[in-house]
Every structure is written in C-alpha cells, then in structure tokens.
C-alpha cells in the first residue's frame, strides 16, 4: 500500500472499483431499502404535516447529495488541475449526471411536499431557487463536456467552470436569500434537538431520525457505487478512444 494517489492510476482504479462495486452496491441496496421501508411503513404521521412527512426520507437525502456531489466534483476538478490525474476529472464527469438526478429528486419531492403544505407547487423560496440554480450549473457543466471533442481540453475547461461555478453558486445562494426570505423550515435534521428529540415542535424527532439517517447512508452508498461504475465506464471509453486514434495513425 502506497499513497492514495496510486488509485489515480486508471488500471488500479478500475481494478479496485470492480472489486468494491458489488459490496458497495449491496450495502447501498440494503440500507436504502431498509431505510425507505422503515420510513414509509413504520413511522407515524407528523401531527401537523400528516403523512407528507414521509417524503422527508427522499427529500433530505437527495438534497444533501445534490450539494455534496457538486462539492465532490469541485474537489476532484481541483485535483485534476493541480496533479493532472485523469481519473480524478473523469470521476467528476461521471458524478455530474448523478448530481442532476439528485437535484431533480430534491426539486420534485420538494414541489410535491410544498403543494399541500404551502398551497402551491412552486414558490420562489430561497432554498428551492438555489437548487434550481444548482440544477442549471449541472446542466452547463455536462453540456460543456459534451461540446468539446478533445478530452484533455474538455477536462480543463469543465474543471475551471466547476471552480468558478462553485463561487457563483455560493454567491447566488446568498443573493436569493437576500432577495426573498423563505418558507422553508430550518436545516433541522442535524441539530442537537433533533437527535435528543427535545423539541418536537419544529425539529425532526427520533422516530423519524433513524430511518432518515439510514436513507442518507443509502443515498451516499448508492452515489459511491454509481461513481465507481460510471468512472470505470469513462476510463473504458477513454481507452477505446485512444486505441481508435492509434489505429487511424497506422
């Protein structure tokens, strides 16, 4: 075992990913199924929100992932720009569509949840708006990858876009906060009150917390499995491309 950078070797990464993929997938499936079944069938209704509280098991994990996937892309893009490890930037490329799906789930479940609670499908609530903007950033990032043929050029450009985009996404978050105070309840999940169940008025209490935690773990593991799989796919595509180019050269 050497340094962590050894795993940036495409061959080594592929081998490791292939080795780990079944286990991560199984763990992801177990925790997701358990968490969702537990949440859906075996938790009570919230006294104010009724059964809609069950949407939390999808909404909160997907929203967390939507942000963290972008954060992971930011880190791997930086690694590419600094250390020039191809696998790193391919992991960012592989993660982006997963991030899109997570953002979509967060937006869709948010709208569906908002409908009965706020009486409308969509409000320009700062947090919803911020996710919509994040969604646009994901689309732009993916579109830039698609538009550029030379893989190294595309890697550099998308990495810079990811970094600049992160700064602007953060700025937008504060801008929309300033622009409209929201209806959203605070980020209640991780607060101390949530864990101890001390304040059931606003915060998510114990009975909801454990299945939710399981769902979050499930989403994270699912993401890890997808990134392993999709990064390996990107490595294969890249290798195929290189081989074809060599064939053409003679």
């Amino acid at each position: 075992m050497g340094s962590i950078w050894e795993y940036a070797n495409p061959v080594k990464f592929s081998r490791t990913a292939t080795l780990l993929l079944p286990w991560v997938s199984i763990l992801a499936a177990i925790s997701l199924v358990t968490g969702l079944v537990w949440g859906f069938f075996f938790t009570p209704e919230d006294f104010r929100q009724g059964s809609t509280v069950k949407i939390i098991y999808l909404h909160v994990p997907s929203a967390l992932m939507a942000i963290n996937v972008w954060f992971m892309m930011l880190v791997t893009s930086l690694i590419w720009l600094i250390r020039r490890h191809h696998v790193s930037v391919l992991a960012a490329k592989a993660a982006a569509p997963v991030g899109v799906i997570m953002t979509l789930i967060a937006l869709a479940t948010g709208a569906i949840w908002g409908q009965p609670m706020w009486g409308t499908w969509w409000v320009w609530d700062p947090r919803l708006t911020a996710f919509l903007i994040l969604f646009l950033f994901y689309l732009g990032y993916i579109a830039l990858w698609e538009a550029i043929d030379n893989p190294d050029t595309a890697a550099d450009l998308t990495s810079v876009l990811c970094i600049v985009g992160s700064v602007f996404a953060l700025l937008s978050r504060y801008a929309v906060n300033f622009w409209n105070q929201g209806l959203h309840q605070g980020a209640s999940v991780m607060r101390a009150g949530a864990v101890t169940g001390a304040d059931t008025q606003e915060k998510v209490s114990n009975i909801f917390f454990y299945p939710l935690l399981l769902c979050i773990i499930g989403f994270v593991l699912l993401f890890v499995a997808l990134v392993f799989l999709r990064t390996r796919t990107e490595i294969h595509k890249r290798r195929t491309k290189a081989l074809l180019a060599r064939e053409r050269l003679g």
């Binding site: 009724g50 799906i101 789930i105 699912l222 997808l226 990107e234 294969h236 081989l243």
Partner: protein, 50 residues
C-alpha cells in the same frame, strides 16, 4: 399492509414513485453504458492484439 396515508396519499405516493423511477433509471442507464463501453473496449483491444 399499506399504511394509512390519509388525505395526502396521492402526494406521498407520487413523490416516492417519481424518486424511485429517477433512481432506477439512473442505475439502469449507468449499467447499460458500462456494458457498452466495456464491449467496445474489448473489441478495440482485440483488433489491436491480433
């Protein structure tokens, strides 16, 4: 076995349906493109080696 979802049944069910659909679609698409990329690579390697 179905829990009583009360008056919000439609919302809860549609949220779960939409999310699961998206997740499963993502997984299936990823698996499919992984298979395809693997097959193409194998074909290219075979041409190269012989």
């Amino acid at each position: 076995m179905m829990p009583e979802l009360g008056k919000y049944a439609a919302e809860v069910m549609s949220a779960y349906a939409a999310s699961l659909f998206l997740l499963i679609a993502m997984v299936l698409l990823s698996v499919r493109s992984a298979r395809k990329a693997r097959a193409e690579l194998a074909a290219a390697e075979a041409r190269k080696n012989g």
